[in-house]
């Protein structure tokens, strides 16, 4: 499954990527699975997702918890807690 991943704020700075499109293996079913899969890709991902509890996620631009199913997501974003306003 091909999906667009986006990284914001210090998650973007740590991964060194603003966005990328990846092909996910079939056993990556939830956000937690996806984070584990990303961490296996290299030290920059290990660093970005070190405190994975802190990382917030959105699927197709809607906030979701880490146990959310990826299903047919087109766009998945990772970011720190928001600090606008």
């Amino acid at each position: 499954m091909s999906v667009k991943l986006l990284y914001f704020a210090w998650v973007r700075e740590k991964t060194g990527l603003g966005e990328e499109t990846v092909d996910l293996p079939g056993d990556v079913k939830t956000i937690t699975d996806l984070i584990d899969w990303l961490k296996a890709r290299g030290p920059e991902f290990v660093s970005a997702f070190e405190q994975s509890d802190v990382i917030r996620t959105a699927i197709d631009q809607t906030h979701v918890p880490h146990d959310a199913a990826i299903a047919n997501a087109r766009e998945i974003a990772f970011f720190p807690p928001v600090t606008g306003g």
Binding site: L6, F8, A9, W10, R12, A58, Q61, T62, H63, A77, F79, P80, P81, V82, T83, G84, G85
Partner: protein
């Protein structure tokens, strides 16, 4: 109405545009968030707001719709800037109009509380010592709790 923009905004002009010479409004509340020149005692020379184009607009629209469902608003407006800003500049504007003052006040506070915890913006503050991402504040999560409806609290 919601707007996400890099340019500054004129608070007075936005309020006048929103009220649009109407005669049925009784109360107009505005909230303006501005860049402060210090953070935890350290000086700030510039602040940059990163955001998630697309999701930002969706979240602000969702939050505005929720406020309009909870309070009898005649008009509402959220403007949020992104990009680099200097101390003293405007960051965000929320305006609400209603026949009665309590609805206008409550809805404006609700919009700000939800925006602070749900709209995908991230602040990076630059000072003489370099730049740092701003940490989310627990007080913002606490502020959200007072808007919990009995059903939502039970979720």
């Amino acid at each position: 109405m919601i707007r996400v923009q890099q340019e500054n905004f004129d608070i007075g002009a936005e309020i006048e545009r929103l009220r649009d010479n109407r005669t049925d409004i009784g109360a107009i509340v505005s909230f303006t968030g501005t860049v402060r020149d210090t953070a935890q005692g350290a000086p700030i020379t510039e602040m940059t707001l990163e955001h998630y184009p697309g999701m930002t607009e969706k979240e602000l629209e969702r939050i505005e719709a929720e406020a309009n469902e909870r309070w009898p608003l005649q008009e509402s407006l959220i403007i949020h800037r992104y990009g680099p800003m200097k101390p003293g500049e405007n960051i965000v504007l929320v305006v609400t109009a209603s026949p009665h003052r309590q609805a206008a006040f409550e809805a404006a506070e609700f919009l700000m509380d939800f925006l602070k915890t749900n709209a995908p913006f991230w602040k990076k503050e630059d000072g003489p010592e370099g730049g740092d991402w701003v940490d989310a504040r627990e007080s913002d999560d606490d502020a959200l709790k007072r808007w919990e409806t009995p059903e939502k609290a039970a979720e």
